[in-house]
């Protein structure tokens, strides 16, 4: 068994590395808090009510709210409105048209690939009319077409991106204090679409609400006044900061990973399980760090959101597996470990949980690649299915934490018994065990700090979300951005620290043969002798750890 860098590093070097990593962590937090804007932005577009004139419906025509090819718009949908009465306009001839984004500062704005993804939520303004109230959870059927155009295209050249007929359940309630005619219902927001890439400049959404009395679609939905779409997209500024962070971290972690592997290949024994796990963790981190997102700026990559979720899931699965194996390898008993199949119970909990989440993710985001208007949550069966997968994943997570806690308990118990017998050991065997204990405690504390920080950041960011401020101009911390960059940076720093501190040290190579666990100890000191100063540093180190 070899020592790791952590044990053989002088206090000075260790604190230097620690401070560097801490500063790096602080930098991540401040970059998110001070440089980056809020992670996402909302664009609200009120629908223009277009009139599809004529006796035949023009299902394949685009209705455009403004510009040279603007549709014939209706000011009001009220049944007493002069135009509605004169031309007997029916609900089938009304098309709600949305051009995303809306104009601002007197000019058309454009979407940008840097926005990464776009989520649309539908908000209905329904007026209370005693003669035509909203029924109990009526089915809203949306006949939706979505078109795209780029700024250099002809102004009427909208290309079809997706079309679908979608059912949503409408849930509305009247405010308790106001039941007079003209009051507005409070309706739940409805998920409309989710796009994995924002590759075009303009998006056009046309929605019809055709009534079908036989099948009960769009019946009893009250008196619809307006439709509004709120689209949420990632802010460009945040994307730039995020991509830059990834681009900076990728080579750093990769470099230390290569160094780590070189250390292992320099050993004259094959890598043990813990080293292989740590190496895999580094690989998972590097895969997550790989700044693939830059490609989305030049190519249409609707799968990017899905891919990012999978990459992130892969990293966290690897992290959880690493903790289990690390704890397991530090149980100081006589069982021969160093084999992956010893951990099949624990790892299968991780794998099972991940598979559940993966299936859920594929059902939601995977199908959205095909039909952006799909959501597993809108149908009753889908909701049950989604909940089933999430509950299974939750159970797997509970099992995992039970296993992990039990393992940590085992480690502490064996540490306790080993401590008692430390005095009777030879100094080298003693330092071997003390090294193990020190390594374990160090990682334990580091991990706890990281987990605590994640929770604290999360609470902070949730807290600031519902908090609305007056002046937008003054400098203030953008907590939600800081949460994302801070937590992301933190796990990078964590992996970076682990790779550099838990790499095999080549200062001393101590081999202890304690296979049979007898009192007979054969200790070999191989080629690199310990210099007196380093040995004393090691001693002080170990005694320090033992005092803890």
């Amino acid at each position: 068994m070899t020592g790791v860098v952590l044990e053989n590093l002088s206090w000075k070097k260790l604190s230097f590395l620690g401070i560097c990593l801490l500063l790096l962590q602080l930098a991540f937090f401040l970059i998110g808090g001070l440089v980056a804007p809020a992670p996402s932005n909302v664009v609200t577009v009120i629908g223009t009510k277009c009139y599809d004139r004529g006796s035949v419906l023009h299902r394949n025509r685009w209705f455009i709210p403004r510009g040279r090819n603007a549709c014939e718009s209706l000011d009001s949908l009220d049944s007493s409105d002069a135009k509605i009465v004169d031309e007997s306009i029916t609900e089938k001839q009304v098309v709600f048209s949305f051009w995303i984004p809306g104009p601002r500062d007197g000019a058309e704005r454009q979407m940008h690939p840097i926005f990464q993804s776009m989520l649309g939520v539908l908000d209905l303004d329904i007026e209370f009319d005693p003669a035509n109230p909203v029924g109990r959870e009526p089915t809203l059927q949306l006949d939706i077409r979505m078109g795209v155009r780029n700024k250099d295209d002809r102004e009427d050249d909208w290309k079809l991106l997706a079309e679908s007929v979608e059912d949503r359940t409408l849930q509305c309630a009247l405010p308790a204090h106001d039941k007079a005619k003209g009051a507005y219902y409070n309706c739940e927001l409805l998920q409309l679409f989710e796009l994995g890439s924002v590759h075009h400049h303009f998006y056009l959404v046309n929605i019809r609400l055709p009534v079908n009395f036989v099948k009960g679609y769009n019946v009893g939905i009250g008196k619809v006044i307006d439709l509004t779409i709120h689209t949420i997209h990632q802010n460009g500024g945040f994307s730039y900061v995020w991509f830059s962070m990834k681009s900076a971290m990728f080579p750093m972690v990769l470099l230390v990973l290569v160094w780590f592997w070189r250390r292992i290949t320099q050993l004259d024994r094959p890598a043990n399980l813990l080293e292989r796990t740590l190496f895999s963790l580094g690989i998972a981190m590097s895969i997550l760090n790989l700044p693939l997102e830059w490609f989305s700026l030049s190519f249409n990559t609707p799968f990017m959101v899905l891919l990012n979720d999978i990459r992130q899931g892969g990293f966290y699965a690897m992290l959880l597996s690493f903790w289990i194996i690390f704890a397991g390898e530090h149980i100081l008993d006589t069982v021969e470990r160093n084999r992956l199949n010893l951990y099949w119970k624990h790892l299968s909990a991780v794998v099972f949980g991940c598979i559940c989440l993966f299936i859920f993710e594929m059902c939601e985001r995977g199908i959205q690649l095909k039909n952006p208007f799909f959501s597993i949550w809108v149908s009753a069966v889908g909701t049950k299915l989604a909940l089933a997968f999430l509950i299974l994943a939750g159970i797997a997570a509970c099992c995992y934490f039970f296993f992990l806690c039990y393992m940590i308990f085992c480690v502490f118990r064996t540490i306790g018994t080993k401590r008692a017998s430390l005095a009777s050991m030879t100094s080298l065997r003693k330092s071997y065990y003390m090294g193990l204990i020190y390594r374990f405690k160090f990682l334990m504390i580091l991990t706890l700090i990281c987990a605590a920080l994640t929770v604290v950041f999360f609470i902070l960011s949730q807290f600031s979300e519902g908090y609305w401020k007056w002046a937008d101009n003054e400098q203030r911390l953008e907590y939600s951005s800081a949460f994302f960059t801070g937590v992301y940076g933190m796990w990078n720093v964590y992996v970076f620290g682990l790779l550099s501190l838990y790499a095999p040290s080549h200062k001393t190579v101590v081999e202890i043969d304690a296979g049979d666990g007898s009192s007979e100890e054969t200790v070999q000191l191989t080629d690199l002798p310990v210099t007196p100063t380093e040995a004393s540093a090691l001693q002080s180190f170990v005694s320090k750890a033992a005092q803890d």
Partner: protein, 321 residues
């Protein structure tokens, strides 16, 4: 924009300061006009059963006529609801993209980025509406300086306070909606936005404030207003305040601007303010029959043309003597 736009000088009822604003922000004016409209409309809805029913006087530059020259509760309410209407309407126009200056967030973006909204999105519509409406309605009061203890100063302070109360009735009750969209749709990422409250709710809230309005007078130094009767609560920032008690609005009186309640329809069976007893100020009422043509047996859809039959019925109508 240089030079005067004829539109602004032709508009009645604008103060010199407002004309200046009108010339600078011509594109805001249709929306300000709509705001005033919804304010009046809501005022009339809220007061339909009161002796003063928020009636407007055609062709009068002050819209509501001389009734508002008196610093009464009614004046307080109309100021508040007009300010609220302007805020509501300007915010909506801002969202619709009708306005030129309702801009995007300029906070902390790199200077070389041409299109700033890509960096951090656009500013909040409601906040812009608040700022614009505040300047627009208050500039009218701030046109002149008034000496201490003067009636004009008291009126100015009252109007400013009530304008703010109206703005707050919209701004402080903006609805915050949120959507979770983190990894796999979890709440690790949550985005919130504000939406305008319904104007009906604003009207209801201000009507409450009207009923609980506080009578105020000058403090000793003659610079600020304080409550007249210490038994009542101090007027808060959302409360309405007034200086003079209201006339009873029973009879037409050109001095107070009251139109009286003669010929107003009343409800014979009601004991409330719309009941014939109270509304007619005890003068009694006339009853006659009226034929009403109604649409009935309608087949309603969510919008548009409704197929109905017409029904006739005869109802009793009561009007004040």
């Amino acid at each position: 924009m240089v030079g005067s736009t004829p539109l602004c000088t032709q508009l009645k009822g604008l103060s010199p300061g407002q004309i200046g604003l009108c010339q600078r922000y011509t594109d805001h004016m249709p929306s300000v006009g709509r705001g005033a409209q919804i304010g009046i409309h809501e005022c009339q809805f809220q007061f339909q059963s009161r002796r003063w029913n928020c009636s407007i006087i055609e062709g009068d530059s002050s819209v509501f006529g001389p009734v508002l020259e008196r610093a009464s509760r009614e004046a307080a309410f109309t100021h508040a609801i007009s300010a609220a209407g302007v805020l509501h309407s300007v915010s909506r126009s801002c969202k619709d993209g009708e306005l030129n200056s309702c801009g995007c967030s300029r906070a902390r973006r790199p200077k070389d980025l041409a299109r700033d909204w890509i960096w951090g999105g656009c500013g909040d519509n409601i906040e812009y509406g608040y700022k614009f409406a505040e300047v627009f309605v208050n500039i009218r009061e701030k046109d002149k300086n008034h000496p201490r203890h003067s009636k004009e100063l008291a009126r100015m302070l009252m109007n400013l306070h009530n304008n703010h109360a109206g703005l707050r009735a919209v701004y402080n009750y903006a609805m915050v909606s949120c959507k979770c969209h983190g990894v796999s749709g979890s709440c690790s990422l949550r985005t919130c936005w504000q939406s305008l409250p319904n104007f009906r709710e604003v009207g209801l809230r201000l009507k409450d404030k009207y009923d609980g309005a506080v009578e105020v007078k000058f403090n000793k130094r003659g610079t600020k207003l304080k409550r007249k009767n210490r038994k009542f609560n101090k007027p808060g920032k959302e409360d309405l305040m007034y200086l003079e008690s209201s006339p009873d609005y029973c009879n037409a009186n050109p001095e107070t601007g009251s139109l009286g309640t003669v010929a107003r329809e009343c409800n014979r069976s009601s004991a409330g303010t719309d009941g014939c007893n109270l509304l007619c100020c005890g003068r009694g009422y006339n009853t006659f029959k009226r034929k009403v043509v109604e649409r009935c047996h309608c087949k309603f859809k969510w919008c548009c043309y409704v197929e109905c039959k017409t029904c006739e019925k005869i109802v009793d109508v009561h009007t004040c003597k």
